[in-house]
Symmetry: C2
Subunit: 246 residues, 2 copies
């Protein structure tokens, strides 16, 4: 357990230097902003990033239990008996206060990282795959160039079938749900209205679909097409030894 004076000095120095700060503490947390919350005493990990994002993590789960977005101001307040971190984000009108009962450890370090993640297997990759392999939808399907699709909004893929009927395709990389069906319906109705045509096919392309969603889809005269999302980095999957090849 760290001494208050020592903790305050280290913390203030690290805040001034915009270092990555991480410490463990037994604490309670109050939040007020978009909503309001109170978290009673317990052990948590607290992170303050160089961009002044603050995260509070409990010992389990992926998501932070409390947080403040980028750009919050952190003030250390203490009396003989208590130690508080008061955080405020003025433009967002958000407030978060941490009562620190004891600090288990404290670390800070400057961090540089300009790298961005390379991600494959997204919905956009799925749309690209269908453009390049239109037979995944059906024989004779002819996708229209990507540039044109922007005129009609955020439609994933559209083109014409072998009878030259317009086809709108909504891709989902996971199991298609009710909202995917209503999204497809919105696009089909939008195109029907804007182009003044009556016959437009709507196709939901996804690896699978929930039973209720399939029923709703068919009730509205749309179709489901089973398509798996692509994984462009499969090389990694097949040869774990070649990690250095990237």
């Amino acid at each position: 357990m760290l001494d208050h004076v020592f903790f305050i000095a280290k913390m203030q120095d690290a805040l001034n230097k915009n270092e990555m700060i991480v410490f463990g503490a037994h604490c309670a947390v109050w939040y007020s902003g978009r909503a309001e919350s109170y978290l009673p005493d317990g052990d948590r990990l607290i992170i303050i990033k160089p961009d002044k994002t603050l995260l509070i993590h409990q010992p389990s789960g992926s998501a932070p239990i409390n947080y403040m977005k980028e750009g919050c101001k952190v003030h250390i307040n203490h009396s003989d008996t208590s130690l508080f971190l008061n955080c405020i984000n003025i433009p967002l009108k958000e407030y978060l206060d941490i009562k620190l009962n004891s600090v288990h450890f404290f670390e800070s370090h400057p961090m540089e990282d300009i790298q961005k993640i390379q991600l494959a297997g997204t919905e956009e990759d799925m749309a690209d795959m269908i453009y390049k392999n239109p037979e995944l939808i059906e024989p004779g399907f002819k996708p229209v160039s990507k540039e044109e699709q922007t005129k009609y909004g955020f439609i994933d893929v559209f083109g014409y079938d072998k009878n030259n009927v317009l086809v709108i395709i909504e891709c989902k990389r996971y199991s298609a749900d009710l909202s995917a069906v209503t999204q497809l319906r919105r696009y089909v109705e939008k195109i029907k209205a804007s182009k003044g045509i009556d016959k437009v096919r709507g196709v939901l392309a996804a690896p699978k679909i929930t039973p209720n969603s399939l029923k709703m889809l068919q009730d509205w005269g749309f179709e489901f097409c089973s398509v798996k999302p692509p994984k462009y980095l499969e090389r990694y999957d097949k040869d774990q030894k070649s990690l250095g090849d990237f």
Copy 2:
């Protein structure tokens, strides 16, 4: 910068004890599972929780850049020249590998926390508020008891207006968007079909609504009602000094 042998010993001990582990490192990350990704060398904060959730955070932003869900197995592999953390989640078929170039610091500590957060100002609170104050929707609106709403699905509030016409209300705590409108449409159509009645009013209750969404709402004959979400813990907002009163 920590010595490899020292780091490995500390890490293995902390993993065995199910402690909260956090360390800073210059590293690269590969992921394969629901999607695939590669993150080139950079400084990051790496967290391994007692429940074996793994999080990798860059120096900015709220969300982890890479992660593994609860229950992953962590193996330390090293040669003369390299140090790897290989993580695997067998039931989810997910894999994550970290190449550690250097470790800036390492901390671990046992953590206990059984507390749950108390949150106010959610969509459910908003529905409760409308039940208790039906005049927020319109004079003469009579909400039906909450128990009955479950028979008809996830409808936030429903009741009858002064002319005894059925009213379905969808609440949104933020600005209502297109999906909120299609969600309301689904509920109204479901109720019309299941009860065999033709006249059902649909009301979207939210603090505001986007222009496109308002147009779509009105095109389908539904209504918008401006309602602010409640904040039950306002006491805290008004008197920051009474933090200990909870």
